[in-house]
Amino acid sequence: MRTIWGFFVLSAAVGSAWGQGLSECQNARRHGRLAEAKACYQKLAGSRDPYLRAEGLWALRDFKGANEAFRAAVASQPDNAVYRVRWGRMFLDHAQGQDFSTAADLFREALKIDPKNGPALVGLALIAADNWEQKAAELAASALKSDPKLVEAQELLARMALEDNNPEKARQEADKALAMSPEALDAMAIRATIDWMEDRSDSPWMDRILKINPVYGEAYALAGHFFVINRRYEEGIRFYRKAIELNPDLWEARSELGVNLMRLGREDEARKLLTQCYENGYQSDATVNSLRLLDSYKNYETFRTPKTILRLNKKEAGVLRPYFQAELDRAIATYERKYHMKLNAPVQLEVYPNHEDFAVRTMGMPGLGALGVTFGHVVAMDSPSARPPGQFHWASTLWHEISHVFILSATNHRVPRWFTEGIAVHEETAVSPDWGDRLDPHAIKAIAEKKLLPIAELDRGFVHPSYPQQVIISYFQAGQICDYIVERWGSDRLLSMVKAFSGNKTTPEVIQQELGMRSEQFDTEFLAWLEKRTKTQVENFARWKQGAQQTAKALEAKKFDEALREGAAIRDLYPDYVEANSVYEMMADAYAALGNKTAAVAQLEKYAAVGGRNPAVLKKLAAWQSEMGHKAEAAAALAKVNYVYPLDEDLHRRLGALDLELGRNEEAVREFQAVVGGRPGDMAGAQYQLARAYLAARRKDEAREAVLDALEIAPGYKDAQRLLLELDGKD
């Protein structure tokens, strides 16, 4: 939630009776006298002074006219930093396409003219804050150094502290803003939000705000922002509603309300609100992209069961549905048992084949959100087809997100980010040890450089990362913390912590209550555990890296014995590495080149067991296992690919055939159903194979239908004809 307006214009920069007129307009607006403010701005819009005309037109939401007027103002006074800053703020308000980049350019130009221009630094800080960058705080601090009375900068610091889930610091920062100005409305809004988030209904702050500005809906909108980023969507929606009730012209708040209703699956009202924004000239990227996404839903199919709503793109629903439905059902059943609870509404899972569509769902949200995101009972995630094969394990992502649904529900959405993410990461490998993410080189580096955050501050690593990989490291750390708690205190203790967090307790309070120690003590003991657990990898990473490079070189030079020697020497110094050019793969290739298929298979079996998931490698393993007669193992290897990239006709054909050989007839039916669902070029062949699987599974009626489907396409298909006669003979 950006501060839309930016009230603090230096009237001195204008320095005329007109400048006084601008102050009057801003004052009227600031105190909620909107009709008076509008009349005032209309007057300014007719001004001969291009800057004042720009301010007037901007306030009246004539962005095109304002833009031209600002351009004229800057041309008339090229060295006026204020004009550029205000022009930049106008672009922030417009918020479409490249507007933020244009605004940043204008703020930087202003700083070239006046290197200590506080409002320009605030402008850059707001852009950084919009991107959840920690440097926003540094920029705000610099702005305050330039101008210690720059309330907006101080309010931004309060906002960032609260985004970091540090209400105490937020309270202090807000009070500093109030000391600068008793009319610091956003500082009061932060104080009100802290009270509301702590479920205190007797907060005095909103009354104080309304006494200054009786239509200051921005305060409710700011609260809405915090409730949403803390995953308390229903409450966030209620605050956005209050915001636009107080001031129907708060288009950003209206758009946010629409976006959040869409997140919770209330699409009709969302569309109505977003359309209102669009038609009234508020066409921010979030608004436009959300409307486009709503339009694209005609390309989706929805499948309902009593506990689930599954939305899949029509193009791939036929292949994905059986796998996604099965995992969705399995995850819900598992978590119901594990968390001793049942959800009060169906889980809605939306799967997007276009990553850009999924990205619309995560706009404005902190954290990585790269693969999946949960909004209450609604989960949105990338389809396997949204990324190159093998780049992500969709089933692991699904279980991760469904864990959020349960934890958010169990805690009534009162849970710190680190804890819900930590449990979700922990649950991924609880399903199967080869699921989830492995210890990656960034995590090894972070452990070696002691960059992990104290548990009490871990949320900051998710929301405002201070280095590029910190979000990923924070996921890793949170997951490891939950692993540690389960290992030391048992899984029931995690459940107790869930319960404790639902009582609105802070992380240090919960650690003390449930684990019997101060959070600092927990950090010490956890780090000792983690360092012991990762000692080999951390201490030998450089050696491993060098050895892996040598192995690759030897393999390329066809020096297979040398590759095997070096590979064997270093593989287990970092056994978790199963990404491209893993030592397992290189050793398997070397063994295969030397004709030792058994040893090659052993390497790839280890690769798969550790969590290797490149579909091509797993399919190669399966092919070798099949050649060696190890059919069950081959089927198991191919089954793993289903969890990574099921949009592969050849995979389903091969696995279906193996399943039939192994007498796993229902599994074979599922595989051949997937082939048919993928609308292959050879549909007749696919239907025939499905018919065979049905027959093997003693589902004769379905077998007959499938074989007739095959023959409808290819009436002269001899194999299908024989099967039809066989089926008729069996009747």
Partner: protein, 306 residues
């Protein structure tokens, strides 16, 4: 079913010879060189084992020169009759300078105009599968009645190395390419298979597709991406058998089976007619009639195969 009938008619045509000429051009880099030669060799062996009477010539490596291509056409031309068929496959790099398409060869390149002239020396129907980069530019210059032209790209401006050839070769080896299950893989089936696999390749790799295969067998006009025989596209290609497996053609030569073959053809025509009426029929009634016809057809086929 029009095309199934046409295929029966083409059974006779399959008794004529098919000449296969495959040329793998200059790779430029060792990786491409070995890839192109590998595909050409695979194609050569598939065509030799393809069950269709004819002659297979493959030129690759230093032998893939313009002179050798001309010599191959001379040899084929001296043996071929108007009932015969030619399958000419070009694998490698192609270029287009805005006017001329050139197939890159060791020594002098060959232009699409020159290729078209060579094709004119062949008396029968011809299939040209130009799998090179920029091959789309050659389509208009080679099109003529009784010719099927397939290109890997839609125009001369798609200049990146292509993967279409890989899937063309695969199509002739993969029984799933035979979508109507008549045990003959036709040019149309192979094209659809390779086109779909090519699209899937780019889609799964999340790469922007730099090749869009096209086909023209009307002898004029532009190529089409998804030929639809109902609209007159791909009809010649649908009767152009490339490889054959099974025993489809043996029965046609057995006088004792003629009555059964006649009954089979009648049933196929009835099924074809019923399928055209599907949209206007009650679903259950359609399925009932279809089941009866398909069962009869299966029984007749079983008798033919005895």
């Amino acid at each position: 079913m029009k095309f199934a009938i046409a295929l029966l008619a083409c059974a006779a045509a399959l008794e004529a010879k098919t000449f296969y000429l495959t040329v793998a051009g200059l790779g430029g880099e060792p990786e491409y060189e070995s890839r192109f030669i590998g595909w050409a060799k695979d194609l050569e062996s598939t065509e030799k084992a393809g069950g269709i009477e004819g002659k297979v010539i493959a030129l690759y490596g230093p032998a893939a020169t313009k002179d050798n291509i001309k010599a191959a056409f001379r040899q084929i031309g001296s043996e071929a009759t108007r009932n015969d068929a030619l399958v000419f496959v070009l694998i490698g790099h192609g270029t287009w300078d805005g006017y001329d398409y050139k197939f890159n060869l060791p020594g002098s390149d060959i232009t699409s105009f020159e290729i078209s002239n060579l094709l004119d020396t062949f008396p029968g129907k011809a299939l040209i599968v130009n799998t090179t980069s920029a091959s789309g530019a050659s389509l208009n210059q080679m099109e003529k009645p009784n010719r099927v032209i397939i290109t890997a790209t839609k125009s001369g401006t798609e200049r990146n190395a292509t993967v279409f050839a890989r899937y063309w070769v695969e199509a002739l080896r993969d029984p799933t390419a035979d979508t109507d299950k008549n045990e003959v893989i036709t040019a149309l089936e192979a094209y659809r298979y390779a086109q779909q696999k090519t699209a899937q390749f780019y889609d799964s790799q999340k790469r922007i597709a730099t090749e869009h295969p096209m086909m023209n067998d009307a002898g004029k006009g532009e190529g089409v991406r998804d030929p639809n025989p109902q609209k007159g596209e791909g009809r010649l290609a649908a009767t152009f058998g490339l490889v054959r497996f099974g025993s489809a053609q043996k029965a046609a030569q057995n006088p004792a089976k003629q009555a059964l073959l006649k009954r089979k053809q009648e049933l196929e025509e009835q099924i074809d007619k019923l399928k055209y009426q599907k949209a206007a029929m009650d679903t259950t009634e359609y399925r009932r009639q279809l089941t009866a016809l398909l069962t009869d057809l299966a029984r007749v086929q079983a008798d033919i195969d005895k």
